[in-house]
Amino acid sequence: MGLSSGMPFTAEKQIHVDYFAILKEQRGKDSEVIQTSAATAQELYSELKERFGFSLAQNHLSVAVNDEFAKWDTPLKENDRVVFIPPVAGG
């Protein structure tokens, strides 16, 4: 309702986001539920980067959806769990 004709349907959904390392520090918390109309993981990161001032560009990150590595254009569904993965430094 209220969407003009021809506009893609971008429903608001609830996404669980967990933060680690530098993102956790910059956000000041380790997880939260985000209400968003972002269609993909990429759109969600752009939105959160803008909103919370994350320093890392998207091309320096990987992303996991529901605890599996995922492509940035993965469509997001209600209640998905998304983790943005800063450059790793194990070993």
Binding site: F20, D67, V88, G90
Partner: protein, 151 residues
């Protein structure tokens, strides 16, 4: 067997878990916390892991080593939490009938761990400053990430 550990890594127990009468070679690798990085004096480290995915990815790396090199057994433990200089950050053990595949598989595992495991390292320096390794925000961030093979 891949594990994350919040406490000291006990090598003897891990080595015992790999004992195998059919193996003629055992190769192990220990990654130690070093007191300098990028010519800065490191006081201590903190490793933080995305546990669920790190456990899956670690197990996958060990399976790949098994398939590629036909080894008898492999185990790896990575520390999380606070570590002091000289502590073991990561331990890998591989057993095989012969030494060549054991060396190659061990090398493969540590190389993949370093580039794929979702685990992060925060260094605290002796001057009181600190930072997440590979996540520096200055203009050279891109070059540094390329040097260590992080995309």
């Amino acid at each position: 067997m891949f594990k994350l550990s919040q406490t000291d890594i006990d090598i003897n127990i891990l080595k015992a878990s790999l004992l195998d009468a059919k193996a003629g070679a055992y190769v192990s690798f220990e990654g130690w916390v070093r007191d300098t990085n990028d010519s800065r004096h490191v006081l201590q480290l903190e490793y933080q892991a995305y546990e669920t995915l790190a456990l899956k990815e670690g197990a996958k790396i060990l399976e790949e080593a098994q398939t590629r090199f036909g080894i008898n057994g492999a185990a790896c433990v990575h520390r999380t939490g606070s570590l002091q200089i000289g502590e073991i950050a990561v331990w890998i053990g591989v057993t095989c009938e012969h030494r060549q595949e054991a060396f190659e598989a061990c090398r493969y595992i540590i190389d993949e761990i370093k580039t794929r495991l979702p685990i992060w390292k925060k260094e605290t320096y002796t001057d009181g400053s600190s930072g997440w390794v590979n996540c520096r925000q200055h203009a050279h961030a891109e070059e540094i990430n390329q040097e260590v093979g992080v995309s």
